[in-house]
């Protein structure tokens, strides 16, 4: 069992890496790309039944995996 977590920057928060990628894509000749936002994708292997609740993983996000001042997170549990 696994948890897949997406951590993304909130709207309005500056994303220097996204900006740089946006610019670099232009330089490389890839036209037609608008805003680029870079987030994290975290896969957690769950070895123990106790953790398998979504709430539990959300707790991990709040405490560590995301900085909720600037980031949103999204948790999905998969087999």
């Amino acid at each position: 069992m696994k948890a897949k977590v997406h951590v993304t920057l909130k709207n309005g928060v500056l994303d220097p890496q996204g900006k740089a990628v946006e610019h670099a894509l232009g330089t490389l000749g890839f036209a037609g790309v608008g805003e680029v936002r870079i987030g994290k994708y975290i896969e957690l292997e769950l070895t123990d039944d106790a953790v398998k609740s979504k709430e539990n993983i959300e707790d991990m996000c709040k405490q560590l995996l995301a900085n909720t001042v600037i980031e949103n997170f999204d948790v999905e549990i998969v087999e």
């Binding site: 610019h23 670099a24 330089t27």
Partner: protein, 730 residues
């Protein structure tokens, strides 16, 4: 039934003769685990089979040398029971395949060589060579390599204080990343790698072992071909955070008195570390490979022996000290495992869940590794060029402006500002000078460090080129006021199986040896990187040297910046106007030819001693003259001090451009108060050193024989090239 087919032998890079020797040593056909071990132990990278014969000719001794080549790093005595431990090593091939991780793990590896002997690393250097700036891969490689060196070095908290960065078409398919680490230890608390004490536990600590870089060592010994990029998954990823923990844990473990011998796991991982430790100590080893901490499931003994996972150490403990050592590793959250014991069999016995899966005689394998006397031809010395053989259709100011903005001469600030060069709080001389200076913590002593190589000289005349590199490091150390103490070498060449290349290797080593002997400046450690070729085109011979000097009082150190207006500018050493193989010829005339300037070693010593003594008695501004000659050196002093100078070109010179841009060796520029200049020139003469007053400091322009350019304009050109070049990619 043989499981070892000729194809398998070939895949492991063993020649037919080597395979025969392998059968002879084993007395039977080896199994795959054993073959894998032979393969890495006898790779060029681990065995030095092509260079060994010549490396033996290098001078390695001096009264202040505590430990020369043969251990993880070289050690010199700097008094007060303190020792400096240092070495340079290449990570060329990995950095070409994956520049960030390749360069990063190069830093990690060289740091381990130094702290494994008991030193706290105090600084790093990096010598970089890339293909032409407009080659399609160059920017990407520069960006990745610099980021990787910074990413690793900054995180472990060791300042990167000096280096080099050059571009040349011969590196288009083979960039060079040579990293040097310098550490400080108590002279009476040095740790060596010779295993001892039958029954003593063999202990592993650091990171877990994964399937990283298996066959990295053999890869580093093979020429690149178009399909080498297929080998990608063997790239190792560095973990500088873990390295930082390993440094602290190692130094802490050393204080517990539990260590008999210690060695990092570098190229060829567990194989070379265990064989070297056992061979040096004349003992046998029994390893329980299933006890090795593993990162992945299903790993095999073959993989465990050959993995090049980073941040791992091997140590022989005193009996019964396992718990003490484990407590240290627990504190630092590192893996710890007893993976075997020393025996008296003289063999390496590999066990896997109790079953023997390999049994090899240690000494025959480690010591009887092949040594080749490869055929070589001497590089013919090119004709010497006269000034009149060199066209000069550019004015001197334009020539100067072109030179200082040229990729090979422009400021490398863009690089060193990505390196934390101040962490640890002892960087007294920051990057940008002739040598960087790192203060010995809590003293006023300083360690001066530099790395140098002039590949174009080595290509045209390997012997003179070899001498020149030694002399240049000697000058760079001397120019800050430090005494040159010892050298580490990193010999980068093409395919040694080609006699012309072998001729370059022999010539350079002989030249380096001659100069080191003359200057009482031993080589205490080094590394060889061969087969730097792509599709049959080799790199310029690039035997990079890293040097260490000592200054007793850092407050006396000199720097290149002009400091006061109206001082006399004095050139020490003779200026004849040697343009052969010069930057002027290369950059302004597009010619890479002619005999490079010869180095007079006796004169070098006399001039060096004079300069050093004068700095210690008050001269605070000094710069050696190297690429681009007198004019470029003056411009560098002006830019560093944001102060101009006025230079009079002597009337009797044959050609002004030769006088300004010639690269005659053995020269320094110093400034002295105007009223003391004549006495200074006299004093130099008495010491057997030619001295000429060429002008004076002051103003906002550099004026060369009446023609002027502002220091501000020079700075823009000099500082502008690299950021502009790199920005074009962003």
């Amino acid at each position: 039934m043989s499981e070892i087919t000729p194809e398998i032998v070939k895949e492991h890079g063993l020649s037919e003769d080597e395979w025969k020797l392998c059968l002879e040593i084993m007395g039977r056909e080896p199994n795959l685990n054993e073959l894998g071990i032979f393969s890495v132990m006898w790779s060029e990278h681990c065995s030095y089979k092509s260079s060994k014969k010549w490396l033996k000719t290098l001078p390695t001794e001096a009264p202040w040398v505590i430990c020369g080549p043969g251990e993880n790093a070289g050690i010199i005595d700097i008094g007060d029971n303190q020792a400096i431990i240092f070495k340079m090593e290449s990570h060329n091939h990995p950095s070409y395949i994956e520049p960030y991780q390749g360069a990063a793990t190069g830093i990690g590896g060289i740091l381990r060589d130094v702290f494994t002997m008991g030193a706290r690393p105090i600084c790093n250097l990096n010598a970089l060579r890339f293909g032409e700036p407009d080659h399609e891969k160059t920017r990407h490689l520069v960006s990745g390599v610099v980021e990787g060196i910074g990413g690793y070095g900054n995180c472990v908290g060791v300042p990167t204080v000096a280096g080099e960065c050059e571009f040349h078409a011969s590196y288009n398919g083979n960039n060079l990343v040579n990293a040097m680490a310098v550490g400080l230890a108590d002279a009476d608390k040095i740790f060596y790698s010779a295993a001892a004490g039958v029954g003593n536990p063999v202990v592993y600590f650091g990171s877990k072992t994964g399937r990283d870089g298996i066959h990295g060592a053999t890869m580093a010994s093979a020429e690149f071909t178009e399909d080498s990029e297929e080998k990608r998954p063997t790239v190792q990823v560095g973990d500088p955070f873990t390295e930082k923990l390993v440094i602290e844990a190692t130094l802490e473990l050393m204080k517990t008195g539990s260590i008999v011998a210690i060695q990092d796991m570098g190229a060829a991982g567990l194989t070379s570390s265990s064989f070297e430790m056992a061979s040096k100590g004349g003992v046998g080893v029994e390893l329980e490979l299933d006890q090795v901490p593993m990162r992945e499931e299903g790993m095999t003994p073959y993989e465990l022996m050959l993995s090049e996972s980073q941040e791992r150490m091997l140590v022989i403990l005193k009996p019964g000290m396992e718990d003490i050592a484990k407590a240290v590793m627990d504190k630092w959250d590192l893996e710890f495992a007893v993976i075997g014991k020393l025996t008296d069999t003289g063999n390496m016995v590999l066990k896997w869940n109790g079953e023997v899966v390999g049994d090899l005689p240690i000494d025959p394998l480690a010591l009887a590794s092949p040594e080749y006397d490869r055929p070589w031809v001497k590089t013919p010395r090119p004709a010497e060029l006269k000034a009149s053989d060199v066209e000069s259709n550019v004015g001197r100011i334009d020539a100067l402006k072109t030179l200082i903005a040229h990729p090979n001469m422009a400021s490398k600030r863009w690089i060193w500002e990505q390196y934390d060069h101040m962490v640890m709080g002892d960087t007294v001389g920051r990057p940008g000078g002739d040598s960087a200076i790192v203060r010995v913590h809590e003293t006023n002593k300083g360690i001066a460090v530099t790395s140098d190589c002039t590949p174009r000289y080595c290509y045209l005349d390997p012997h003179e080129g070899g001498k020149q590199i030694v002399a240049e490091t000697y000058r760079n150390i001397t120019a800050v006021g430090a005494k040159p103490m010892a050298v580490t070498d990193n010999l980068n060449f093409g395919n040694p199986e080609r006699p012309e290349i072998m001729g370059q290797i022999v010539g350079c080593i002989e030249g380096i040896g001659e100069a080191c002997r003359a200057l009482e400046y031993p080589i205490v450690s080094g590394n060889v990187s061969l087969y730097n070729e792509t599709n049959g085109t080799g790199i310029l011979p690039t035997p990079t040297l890293g040097a260490v000097g000592l200054i007793a009082d850092v407050d006396k150190a000199a720097s290149v910046a002009f400091k006061a207006e109206g001082q006399a500018i004095v050139v020490l050493g003779e200026t004849k106007g040697w343009l052969g193989a010069s930057r002027y010829l290369e950059v302004l005339c597009g010619r890479e030819e002619g005999a490079p300037p010869p180095v007079d070693l006796a004169q070098e010593l006399a001039t060096g001693n004079f300069v050093r003594a004068e700095i210690l008695s008050g001269i605070d501004t000094c710069h050696d003259i190297s690429d681009g000659g007198l004019a470029v050196a003056l411009a560098e002093m002006a830019m560093a001090g944001s102060m101009g100078c006025t230079i009079d070109i002597p009337a009797n010179v044959e050609a002004a451009y030769a006088w300004l841009f010639g690269e005659d060796q053995g020269r320094y520029i110093v400034t002295v108060d105007a009223d003391k200049a004549d006495a200074f020139v006299m004093k130099a003469g008495e010491a057997g050193v030619t001295a000429n007053i060429v002008g004076k400091t002051g103003g906002s322009d550099v004026v060369l024989g009446g023609e002027a350019v502002s220091v501000a304009e020079l700075k823009d050109l000099h500082e502008g090239w690299m950021p502009n070049y790199m920005a074009a990619a962003e």
